[in-house]
Amino acid sequence: MKELFVIMVSAVLVDNVVLSQFKGICPFLGVSKKMRNSVGMGAAVIFVMICATLVTYPVYKFMLLPFGVEYLKTIAFILVIALFVQMVEIILKKLIPPLYKALGVYLPLITTNCAVLAVTITNIDEEYTLAQSITNALGTGLGFTLALLLFSGVRSRIEDSDIPETFKGVPATLIAASIVSLSFMGFSGLF
């Protein structure tokens, strides 16, 4: 139990997926403009990460490992994730329309979110058990959401401030991200 707690906290804070591991930067910069979009995107990412872990773990353990083709995991995982996301989209649309309305629009964007593929590969590389893998996926997803939420707050302040012409737009956003990332460095050495 203690071990799971350590994995969780380090995934959310110490090794934050966006701010210290640089995964999922595109959605982080693209979707963090509005608080509402950030929440939707974050929830969709948490959901897909956990489900992708649940799907890829058995695929690796029972399909790739017995045949000695572990090196195919990149192909197998991305294919499984892409198929899975498509399937979830269709199922949600049919069965739970309100949830589809809330999360559905974000789903196609998540297939190529590198954070999702990274979580599934990390779980295998670190030789986590299923429980540890799910904890790691949940923690990473929460960390992503946290970073997105914090940053959408920061960004709304940049919009109105007076900055040099050359730095307006993307450069200012990146430098703001650097300061947010600096604050997360305070968590390093927590364990």
Binding site: L19, S20, Q21, F22, K23, G24, I25, C26, L29, G30, V31, K33, K34, R36, N37, Y71, L72, K73, T74, I75, I78, L79, A82, L83, Q86, V105, Y106, P108, L109, T111, T112, N113, C114, L117, A118, I121, T122, D125, E165, T166, F167, K168, G169, V170, P171, A172, T173, L174, I175, A177, S178, I179, S181, L182, F184, M185
Partner: protein
């Protein structure tokens, strides 16, 4: 002539990282050293070249509805090949790039070029496009890596440049430094090119542009769409 244009446009004018702002994750993550930047850039160039060739040849075979999964599988195949090659011939680089090697699969530059260029053009222009974009990516990674290595550890390609008696600014090789240097490099490129900085993360080159627009996340018509919905 036009092939030459396809090649040169990726180097500076449409540089994938600095101008169209794609593939930010590896740009930030592996550029703590100039040599890692070059290694990552060349690995990506190889994958981009392979996938552009195959996709350009198969463009009439792949059904439109399932094209993205098809592209991803083709790309993942080349990534696996690069992974295995690097593991056996350049193990040091393989461990330095770590998880970002398999993550080339989901690099938006590659999928973006497949969607925007290779699936619509003949073989030769696609090859030129892949080489230009790949080298442009390598160039920006090299620039980022050089700045961060020089400031952060006083070295360049492992050679001591700044005397050891000076304290290094460790912050530059930490994550926060990555964001900061990239922001400054983009600002510098804008200043030199004497043009307005990109207001938004370049969405048109992204393979998910249409999905994003539908979700109301892009600036142009998106924000209004999201507000209308609310």
């Amino acid at each position: 002539m036009s092939n030459l244009h396809e090649f040169t446009k990726g180097l500076i004018k449409e540089n994938p990282t600095l101008v169209t702002l794609l593939g930010m994750c590896p740009t930030l993550a592996v550029t703590t050293m100039a040599s890692n930047g070059i290694g990552m850039g060349l690995a990506t160039t190889f994958v981009l070249l392979g996938s552009n060739i195959v996709i350009s040849l198969l463009k009439n075979v792949i059904p439109k509805a399932v094209r993205l999964p098809c592209y991803i599988v083709i790309i993942a195949g080349f990534v696996t090949a690069v992974e295995l090659l690097l593991k056996s011939y350049l193990p040091a680089l393989h461990s330095a790039l770590g998880i970002f090697l398999p993550l080339i699969t989901v690099n938006c530059i590659i999928l973006g070029r497949a969607e925007v260029f290779a699936s619509k053009n003949k073989l030769l222009p696609s090859i030129c496009d892949a080489l230009g974009m790949g080298l442009g990516f390598t160039l920006s990674l090299f620039t980022m890596g050089s700045i961060r290595e020089l400031m952060g550890s006083g070295q360049w390609f492992g050679i001591q440049i700044i005397p050891e008696s000076f304290d290094n600014m460790m912050i530059f090789i930490m994550p926060a430094g990555g964001f900061f240097v990239l922001g400054c490099v983009i600002a510098a490129v804008n200043k030199l090119a004497k043009k307005k900085p990109p207001k938004e993360i370049g969405c048109t080159g992204c393979p998910h542009y249409s999905a994003c627009a539908k979700a109301g996340l892009t600036e142009s018509d998106g924000v209004n769409a999201a507000e209308k919905e609310a």
